[in-house]
């Protein structure tokens, strides 16, 4: 799909053959471990694991990941560089020995490890998320989850979002061009101009978005969307036993790990205090 950034790529890789539910389970497991893990080495391992399956098990070329990765990497770098200065012993990620002296603050190995852990966390999340998006056809996701008892209207919403999002972005771009053409907020200072433009953008997008939304809702109703509690699917998503076992094993292991390493005193947000 030419205009949708996070889009499905055709393929026959292991990830393509796994059912959407298995992949969802795997990605959720990775996400929970990435978010709650406080061990730098596990963080590195998880990142390498995600990198491995992204590059070798999805069949999607690296440049596809990089197209979005280049947007995320600066953010990750900021996390890794800025957050060590805010380290207060939240995580066991290194010793207290000074590793780097800076004019602002001397940084310990623990502080640097904390920054690195944050960066790796987001990289792992990004790789897992992109692997899922690149290898999961949205319609298969709807079918797979609907067959597991989820309401198909609920799970079809992301598909609609995927289709409608580009047109919503286009509308925003056009309104933004209008603001520039008509010099909205003329003769006001920078801050006020920004405020005027943001409120105009929000209002116009709401009005025009609601209008489009109403038409789309009619189009869905007319085509029997929600007429019955269930629906049929023209094509069955094949089951993939090995993928399912792999996902469940990883899920169980991640739960065990999270229980094992759970320690309120060493969580990043220090919930014990």
């Amino acid at each position: 799909m030419a205009n949708v950034e996070l889009s499905f790529k055709q393929g026959d890789s292991l990830f393509h053959r796994m059912t959407p539910f298995s992949k969802l389970l795997l990605v959720l497991s990775v996400s929970f471990v990435a978010i709650f893990n406080t061990n730098l080495y596990v963080g590195i391992g998880l990142f390498l694991f995600c990198l491995f399956f992204s590059l070798f098990l999805t069949g999607v070329p690296f440049r596809q990941y990089w197209a979005l990765g280049k947007i995320i990497v600066p953010f990750v770098m900021i996390l890794a560089i800025v957050f060590p200065f805010f380290y207060g012993g939240q995580a066991t990620v290194g010793s207290d020995a000074i590793a780097l002296r800076t004019p602002i603050k001397d940084l310990s190995w623990g502080a640097l490890g904390f920054g690195a852990l944050l960066g790796l966390r987001f990289l792992a999340l990004a790789l897992a998320g992109l692997s899922f998006a690149f290898t999961t056809h949205p319609t298969d996701l709807v079918q797979n989850l609907a067959r597991r008892g989820w309401d198909y209207r609920l799970v079809h919403a992301p598909v609609l979002g995927l289709i409608l999002f580009p047109s919503f972005l286009k509308l925003g771009r056009e309104l933004s061009i209008t603001q520039r053409i008509r010099d909205l907020g003329q003769n006001t200072n920078w801050l006020k101009r920004k405020w005027i433009r943001v409120t105009h953008l929000a209002f116009s997008m709401l009005v025009l978005g609601l209008r489009n939304g109403q038409t789309q809702a009619m189009a869905l109703d007319i085509r029997g969307y929600g007429a019955y509690k269930t629906r049929t699917f023209m094509r069955e998503v094949p089951k993939h036993r090995a993928g399912e076992i792999f996902a469940w094993v990883f899920f169980v292991l991640s739960i065990i790990y999270l229980i094992y390493q759970f320690n309120p005193a060493t969580m990043q947000w220090n919930i014990a205090s």
């Binding site: 209008t178 008509r182 189009a219 007319i222 007429a227």
Partner: protein, 591 residues
């Protein structure tokens, strides 16, 4: 009401749901009684805001079942076993299977990622089994001529293809009545012809009753067998097309501002001047040619064929925009390839071409919204890249196709005043000028209204007025008459003519060849990112290879006036005049 009807209304009225605790307003549709024969092809006409869409949504059942409101009277739908039955006897979901609707913009209707998913979407919702779904998808795609498109991504389709996919999605349900809301309004002439041919094919194959709401009636009128006129909450008809034109033709054009076929316009103007044509009002060029031929007039020797263009007497001025070797690409996809041309002061330049040929991209280069990858766009001799954006925007006014996207203020008055304040005028001068302009565009009585609550025609006038109030040197418009009725379109084009006469260069992008014929001084044709033609409209319509290559079509008056006169004319008035002059000449000769 007989069993051969597909649909019948008996004293049917509808009231919108009151908003925010307000009392219920007057009926939006009042006491409608008409019947539509099974297999008919019906044209629904009416001015903007007359209730055409409300009628269609009631026929489908969206009103009042889904969006509320109250109805009264009976709406009967044909049932294969029971004949005409009250729609209320069917479950809501079943009603949509009987009467379905295709919206104006296919983008609003596409909800999946591939063509087969799109066509199968409703079938899945209605619990059809997979083998039947696949059978119906194949059948529907075959009907609309998209056999090889099953696995194509919907986002990559052209406008015409999307419309045909949306139509296939409706047809897969095998409805007995299909309502089409302006199905060709976003399409180029060839896309329009494709969609109309598809509808013909579908009717022939399935015998489905088709009801179409359409402004561009030239291609439609001789296809339909029934006409309904929606006016002031009532529906008049059904009429046969010829009966409708004969009884109401010039009235609906002149009083209601509706478009009628160009051939019928000529026939009616001749009738008004006392010349009655054989066979009544002609519906198309062939009928007009035959009927006028039967008059035995000597039309070919009246010798004014050199006056081809209606606008050829306009002397173009200095270059306002110069496009020099401009290329532009979206990513790796080239859109414009080495373009060279000039837009001059005092002229109306039409940019035409098929959907996706790069017209809007080209226009966006004129005021710096986009910058060329190579080459330069010069405004008054200076590259757009050297202008400050806000300054360039004041010199080159860009007017979007959808007026709502242009509004930045809360009232009609402020929309106009905004542009004047940007010029640094005093509040007193702003007020004087704003009021003057509001009078010009006939919006003074709506000065305190929100721009969003205006009618479509008013919105279009406001969007144009707001952009030209600062007297820009160049005015660029994207589909200026889109969705406008006959009067609104003419008023708008006269306004643009006035701007050009005052020294502006007016550039408009359009699919409407009638507009090009009547108003453009010059036309530039874009085809696959290249200018393949740059000349007068008359020269363009004579260049058959250019028209074919760029999927364009000369307006029908050009075609049938060429058959009648030997040399074509651009407007119906000109043709009528020529016929009347010939008739007058013959009369005098006889005397």
């Amino acid at each position: 009401m007989n069993a051969e009807n597909a649909l019948a209304l008996e004293a049917y009225s509808f009231w919108f749901k009151p908003q925010g605790g307000q009392p219920e307003g007057p009926a939006a549709l009042e006491e409608l009684s008409f019947a539509i024969g099974a297999g008919s092809f019906v044209l629904i006409l009416g001015r903007s805001g007359s209730g055409k869409s409300t009628l269609a949504l009631n026929l489908v059942g969206i009103y009042p079942d889904y969006f509320g409101g109250r109805n009264q009277g009976r709406m009967l739908i044909a049932d294969p076993e029971r004949g005409l039955i009250n729609r209320r006897e069917l479950e809501a979901a079943e009603r949509f299977k009987r009467v379905n609707m295709l919206f104006q913009n296919p983008e609003d209707q596409i909800v999946t990622l591939t063509v087969e998913e799109e066509v199968g979407f409703a079938l899945e919702n209605y619990l059809f089994e997979p083998p039947e779904i696949h059978r119906r998808i194949d059948r529907a795609l075959e009907l609309v001529g998209l056999n090889g498109f099953r696995t194509r991504e919907t986002i990559a389709l052209s406008g015409g293809e999307k419309q045909r996919v949306a139509l296939a999605a409706m047809l897969a349900l095998e409805p007995s009545v299909l309502i089409l809301d302006e199905p060709t309004s976003n399409l180029d002439p060839a896309g329009t012809a494709d969609v109309l041919a598809t509808i013909d094919h579908v009717r022939e194959q399935l015998g489905v009753t088709v009801m179409v709401i359409e402004h561009e009636v030239d291609e439609v009128f001789d296809r339909v067998d029934t006409v309904l006129l929606v006016e002031d909450r009532h529906v008049h008809g059904p009429y046969s097309p010829r009966e409708f034109l004969s009884e109401r033709g010039l009235m609906v054009r002149d009083d209601m501002g509706l478009w009628i076929p160009q051939a019928a316009e000529v026939g009616l103007e001749l009738r008004a001047a006392g010349i009655e044509l054989d066979g009544g009002v002609p519906l198309n060029g062939a009928e007009l040619t035959a009927a006028v031929g039967a008059l035995g007039l000597d039309l070919r020797s009246s010798g004014r064929s050199e006056e081809l263009s209606a606008n050829s007497d306009v002397a173009a001025g200095e270059p306002a925009i110069e496009v020099r070797d401009v290329s532009f690409a979206y990513g790796e996809h080239p859109v414009l390839k080495g373009l060279n041309f000039t837009a001059r002061r005092n002229e109306l330049l039409a940019i035409v071409g098929q959907n996706g040929s790069g017209k809007s991209t080209l226009a966006s280069l004129f005021n710096g919204i986009a910058t060329p990858d190579s080459g330069a766009v010069l405004v008054d001799g200076m590259p757009t890249s050297e202008y400050e954006f806000a300054h360039l925007a004041k010199r080159v006014a860009y007017i979007f196709q959808v007026p709502e996207k242009q509004f930045v203020c809360n009232t009609v008055y402020d929309e106009i005043a905004h542009g004047l304040r940007a010029l640094g005028m005093s509040e007193a001068d702003v007020d004087t000028r704003t009021v003057e302009f509001l009078e010009t565009v006939r919006l003074l009585d709506r000065r305190d209204a929100s721009p969003y609550v205006l009618s479509h025609g008013q919105k279009r006038r406001l969007s144009v007025a707001a952009m030209v109030v600062g007297q820009p040197e160049v005015v660029v418009l994207d589909e200026p008459t889109f969705g406008q009725d006959f009067h609104q379109a003419r008023n708008l084009m006269e306004l643009l003519r006035g701007l050009a006469d005052d020294g502006a260069a007016v550039v408009f992008i359009t699919h409407d060849m009638r507009l090009v014929a009547e108003y453009a001084d010059r036309a530039a044709v874009l085809c696959n990112g290249e200018i393949v033609f740059n000349g007068t409209p008359g020269e363009l319509f004579a260049a058959g290879d250019v028209l074919e290559r760029s999927r364009l079509k000369a307006p029908s008056v050009y075609e049938f006036s060429r058959d009648l006169l030997g040399a074509p004319v651009m407007t119906t008035q000109e043709l009528s005049q020529r016929i009347l002059e010939a008739a007058d000449g013959q009369r005098r000769t006889v005397v």
